[in-house]
């Protein structure tokens, strides 16, 4: 399965992505947790201490003459699997964490790092990985062209009106992907996003406590109802995946 998690800032994307990656790994899956946010936070939610390293220049090369987004390819002599091995970090429960890098000073994250990761993911996406992707908040969509590997997107909303507005905008924007809603910090009735939530993830103060300490929710509060709800999401994803595997044979 290859999923991306999108939505307004602060709705819980990273907590959900990190918890989902860990829980899928505990169910025996080979999980690649992919952090496409240039201000990455998924490492913390997995239980890693973030580094300041970026995927260096030279992993992907720019080929002149092609339109910009298509012009990046992995350098000759390298394979996606080998580069994944080199630049990914092992995370708890056997999750593999990959991140292009982060903005460190007054300059943008280097394009070559982003495109190197895109090419690595493209290269390994059909070799049995479950890919769980966390994306930056508002420009989730700026990653449209980094999401071609994803089979479906989950748009996370909270009861707040601004997150529902963003969710509606994302619905219009990500029309190429099957979009499923996840209700986060749900306290009452779902809001008017026009989407029925696949899973309702309840509001839980322990998420804030884990965030305060910068530790994974699944380690600090394994009994949290949020962990239980994300585990339900993991079960849904697995069921859908197994159904899809059976379909071509039958």
């Amino acid at each position: 399965m290859r999923v991306a998690i999108v939505g307004k800032g602060g709705v819980g994307k990273t907590t959900i992505a990190g918890t989902l990656a860990r829980l899928l790994a505990r169910r025996g899956r080979r999980v690649l947790a992919l952090d496409l946010d240039p201000n990455p936070g998924l490492g913390w939610s997995l239980g890693l201490t973030p580094t300041e390293e970026s995927v260096p220049a030279g992993v992907a090369e720019h080929t002149d003459g092609l339109p910009r987004p298509f012009a990046w390819k992995l350098a000759p002599g390298t394979t996606a699997a080998a580069e994944l091995q080199r630049y990914a970090e092992p995370a708890p429960d056997g999750v593999t964490y990959l991140c292009p890098g982060k903005i460190l000073g007054a300059s943008f994250l280097e394009e070559h790092s982003l495109f190197a990761v895109r090419e690595i993911v493209r290269g390994v996406s059909s070799s049995g990985w479950d890919i769980i992707t966390d994306i930056d908040a508002a420009t989730a969509v700026s990653c449209g062209r980094f999401l071609e590997f994803a089979e479906k997107c989950y748009v996370v909303t909270t009861p707040q009106s601004a997150s529902a507005i963003t969710a509606r905008r994302l619905q219009d924007l990500l029309i190429a992907w099957p979009l499923t809603m996840l209700a986060s910090m749900a306290q009452g009735e779902p809001d008017h996003t026009g989407l029925e939530p696949a899973v309702r993830i309840p509001y839980d103060e322990s998420v804030k406590d884990a965030d305060r300490r910068g530790v994974p929710l699944v380690d600090a509060f394994p009994q949290s109802p949020v962990v239980a709800a994300v585990d339900e999401l993991a079960a849904q994803l697995l069921a859908a995946d197994q159904a899809a595997e059976r379909a071509p044979a039958g």
Partner: protein, 255 residues
């Protein structure tokens, strides 16, 4: 005077910057609220109705619809303000830089989006106050490129992730030579919360306490300032407005 408001997604940038713009206007300044978020919502704290909010035409989208390409010269920011500015509560003029409505618009590094992402730098701040509500993360701070005399508010809540991003926003401000850099510790519930932000950022800190009024306003989709102007968070933002206005002439220092 120009004030750039940056930080992680969901820390409260829009609520703080929108309310700040209104408080500055209530104190007698001419204020432009510049919404730099590709999913623009600054109209909410500025008191616009839902329909008004969705009726806003951002600069980028106007340019695309009128056939402007990134090969054309940059648009005149004053002309854009005149054509596309919306009058919001307390006389604040709201201008949105660009809403991403097509997948192809969303280019983080190049294309015509860049010409609108630098509007914060292009609008003249003399005799008026420009409050820029930046997109989540740090990209927009680099696009906005505040000048050394501008003010940066790095908003954080008591979480490791948001403090890390605010810390890097402060570093960017310092690298750009800004002297007026402040942290805003939002949703503070205890002295420890305030200290966590202050210790990590090393710049003067404005504290905005945790306030259920904001969550209530969010649910209703109304401006918290209109729901209860005397709630603790609203009073804290009013104090920021007063402090920033006072510090306009001399270099800032918060005791």
């Amino acid at each position: 005077m120009k004030i750039a408001v940056g930080g992680k997604g969901g820390v409260g940038k829009t609520t703080i910057s929108g309310t700040l713009a209104r408080q500055l206007a209530r104190n007698g300044s001419t204020v432009i609220a510049l919404d730099c978020d590709p999913s623009p919502n600054m109209g909410i704290p500025l008191g616009l109705t839902h329909d008004q909010l969705l009726g806003i035409k951002p600069v980028f989208n106007f340019l695309v619809e009128s056939g402007h390409t990134h090969h054309d010269p940059k648009p005149d920011p004053e002309d854009m303000l005149h054509r596309l500015g919306t009058t919001a509560a307390d006389g604040v003029t709201l201008l949105a830089t660009g809403e991403v409505v097509r997948r192809d618009d969303a280019c983080m590094c190049c294309g015509s989006h860049a010409s609108t992402r630098s509007l914060f730098g292009d609008l003249v701040g003399d005799g008026r106050i420009i409050v820029g509500d930046l997109e989540a993360g740090l990209n927009d701070l680099i696009w906005a490129k505040p000048a050394s005399e501008d003010t940066l508010l790095a908003v954080a809540e008591p979480s490791v992730k948001s403090i890390d991003i605010a810390r890097r926003a402060v570093r960017i401000g310092q690298a750009l030579g800004l002297t007026r850099i402040y942290a805003v510790a939002n949703r503070v519930r205890s002295p420890e919360d305030e200290r966590a932000v202050a210790d990590a950022l090393g710049v003067p800190v404005f504290v905005v306490p945790e306030d259920p009024t904001l969550a209530r306003a969010d649910m209703l989709g109304v401006a918290p300032l209109d729901l209860d102007a005397t709630s603790p968070a609203m009073l804290a933002v009013a104090a920021i407005a007063t402090r920033l206005a006072e510090s306009r002439a001399p270099a800032a220092s918060v005791a």
